[in-house]
């Protein structure tokens, strides 16, 4: 089995879940080829080998500087047609989902999106993925012949240990589309700077309507900072305009799966659960002992978040140094 893995990167920063995809590719296949597309991506090509790739196909070009649908899909589909891998994997990020789906359409191949389990049975991929707002898993399998595509939900598969002594080949490839035939132009981009990405975060601290206003997020953020975690929110807090939509977790927000999710002043509506149910350990802080979030949580503190969060930040600071 030959496995391709698209290594997603933005401005030279690789998406961590791409390494998780390489780790899984090593288990599924005999040879693993990393597709590294971008501009100035030599370090990422090298890192892909350290994480487990045997070979890298590297396209380094100004047309690939930002992830754009047309040039990325066209090039990945072209490489798949040329090399005929058995399996093509990527992280199920916003870009990963669209780029791999597009490439699968181009080569008329089977696609299993956003999976949390993936295995091979008689040469065909079989997967589980959360559906219906994460309330159940759907088990799906490839039935067609030809290359099989799948995207992997962040943090659902183990992160491999990089090995700086690993070696592999790096082959340069050229983009397919010239600049003047690409329909879209990125005119500007606003990055959420200095913040831990929600989908990659191992610790998330989230605030809801209970924080009472924009300034109520201060103790939530303080605890997130002490833990090196990311800041999240319920839709009620986002809709009230207390915090930007990028932080919303839930059915109409981001789906996250950290090791620790601390929910403060969040009742735990089914649509909020859709985004955080697969967190390993959930801690609920709410002054209402009957709030539904306590039915999902491993640990709970019934109390006022404005007392509990600062006390927790203090206790963690003392214990973690």
């Amino acid at each position: 089995m030959n496995v391709f893995v698209w290594i997603e990167q933005h401005n030279g920063t690789p998406v961590a879940a791409s390494w998780e995809a390489i780790g899984l590719a090593r288990q599924l296949g005999d040879t693993v080829t990393a597709l590294v597309l971008g501009q100035g991506v030599d370090d990422i090509a090298q890192a892909a080998i350290h994480y487990g790739a045997d070979a890298v196909l590297k396209a380094d070009d100004a047309t690939l500087a930002q992830v754009r649908f047309e040039p990325y899909v066209t090039l990945i589909a072209h490489l798949v047609q040329q090399h005929n891998p058995d399996i093509v994997l990527a992280a199920a990020t916003i870009s990963g989902r669209e780029v791999l789906a597009g490439a699968a359409a181009d080569v008329n191949a089977a696609m299993l999106p956003d999976v949390i389990e993936l295995s091979l049975e008689d040469g065909k991929l079989s997967a589980a993925r959360p559906v219906l707002g994460g309330k159940v898993l759907s088990v799906e399998a490839v039935t067609a012949d030809g290359p099989q595509f799948a995207t992997l939900r962040s943090r659902a598969f183990p992160m491999p240990e990089p090995d700086a002594n690993r070696s592999g080949t790096i082959t340069e490839v050229s983009p397919v589309l010239a600049d003047d035939v690409i329909a879209s132009r990125v005119e500007s981009a606003a990055e959420l700077s200095g913040q831990v990405s929600l989908t990659d975060a191992s610790v998330i601290v989230a605030g809801g309507r209970g924080v009472g206003g924009p300034e109520g997020f201060a103790p939530v953020k303080e605890l997130a900072d002490v833990l090196g975690g990311a800041l999240a929110a319920s839709r009620a807090a986002v809709d009230a305009g207390w915090i930007p939509y990028e932080h919303q977790v839930g059915q109409t927000g981001k789906v996250v799966s950290p090791d620790l999710y601390i929910a403060a002043g969040i009742s735990g509506a089914i649509q909020h659960q859709a985004g955080m149910r697969t967190s390993k350990v959930i801690v609920a802080i709410n002054r209402d002992a009957d709030a539904p979030i306590f039915r999902l949580a491993r640990y709970g503190i019934v109390g006022d978040l404005f007392d509990v969060l600062p006390a927790l930040a203090e206790a963690f600071r003392n214990r973690l140094g």
């Binding site: 933005h10 930002q66 649908f69 899909v73 990020t93 916003i94 870009s95 989902r97 669209e98 597009g102 699968a104 359409a105 008329n108 191949a109 696609m111 999106p113 079989s126 589980a128 959360p130 559906v131 219906l132 707002g133 994460g134 309330k135 159940v136 759907s138 088990v139 799906e140 399998a141 490839v142 039935t143 067609a144 329909a183 879209s184 005119e187 500007s188 981009a189 990055e191 959420l192 990405s197 989908t199 939509y245 990028e246 059915q251 109409t252 090791d259 089914i270 649509q271 801690v283 609920a284 999902l296 949580a297 491993r298 640990y299 709970g300 503190i301 006390a311 203090e314 206790a315 214990r319």
Partner: protein, 261 residues
């Protein structure tokens, strides 16, 4: 000139779901317009109001999905079309995309195809991106605002969400977009709109009507069964203490003991 919105019904997000021993799921009978599609339909109607374009709402699904079409007609779409063929029963994204792209081509003179961000039930967005490829058009996903659109000059500029933040992107038309909730305030049907929609004739296009043979719609993947989520071990442990500091320390102890951190 034409704007097309693709919309569907999905199970109510509040529905409780149960899975039986043979892997069948029951989510009740209640269907609602896919919450994401409410924004998509509204955007088509807003574009129609601001530009000289026709708005068509299309669903791909069995009869119960006609409700999404009625919703579209009731808030101001000009016409509705339902695509269905038994060959589509497999829920394969690529088959859906092939059928939707064929319908868009059949309508002709379409400048923009609008989808909601994803289906809230199967949580898939794959057919959206695959429709763009089947049409050979550019794709702008997660659009939070259409900043400018010029149907005559065939240009669009949008701001869209990315995993890292947001971007302003300009593109040529025709294009496919998917929209997120920031794009508008969904319109809801009026009594008169609902009555008008109830009387509308909704044509059904099957594979033959789309000029496709059933083989082009065959699934490449199969849904095998549903599976309940692994049960969460144990009930919640409420951390008590004489003071909030004591509670906080006890919780930190537990989390360190469990090696969560």
């Amino acid at each position: 000139m034409h704007v097309v919105v693709i919309a569907k019904n999905t199970p109510d997000t509040e529905a409780t779901v149960s899975v039986d021993a043979s892997g069948n799921a029951d989510w009740g009978d209640k269907l609602v317009v896919n919450p994401w599609d409410e924004y998509a339909i509204t955007e088509a109607v807003l574009l129609k109001g601001a530009h000289n374009v026709t708005a068509t709402v299309i669903t791909l699904g069995t009869e119960e999905h006609a409700e999404a079409l009625k919703h579209g007609l009731a808030i101001g779409c000009d016409q509705a079309i339902r695509i269905w063929d038994d060959a589509l029963a497999g829920h394969d994204g690529l088959a859906y995309a092939t059928a939707v792209a064929a319908a868009v081509n059949k309508l002709g003179d379409v400048s923009l195809v609008i989808f909601g961000k994803e289906l809230s039930d199967i949580a898939s967005d794959q057919h959206i991106f695959q429709t763009a490829r089947k049409l050979g058009w550019n794709m702008l996903g997660f659009v939070a605002q259409i900043e400018a659109i010029d149907f005559a000059a065939k240009t669009i500029r949008v701001s869209r969400l990315t995993e890292q933040g947001s971007q302003v992107v300009s593109s040529a038309l025709p294009a496919v977009i998917s929209v997120v909730k920031d794009i508008n305030e969904p319109k809801y049907p009026t009594f008169i709109g609902i009555r008008k929609a109830a009387r509308a004739e909704i044509p059904v296009w099957d594979a033959a009507a789309l000029g496709l043979d059933a083989a082009a719609l065959s699934s490449k993947t199969a849904h095998i069964r549903y599976q309940a989520l692994p049960a969460r071990e144990g009930a919640v442990e409420i951390i008590d203490g004489a003071t909030v500091q004591e509670q906080a320390e006890a919780l930190v102890d537990k989390l360190l003991e469990d090696k969560v951190l």
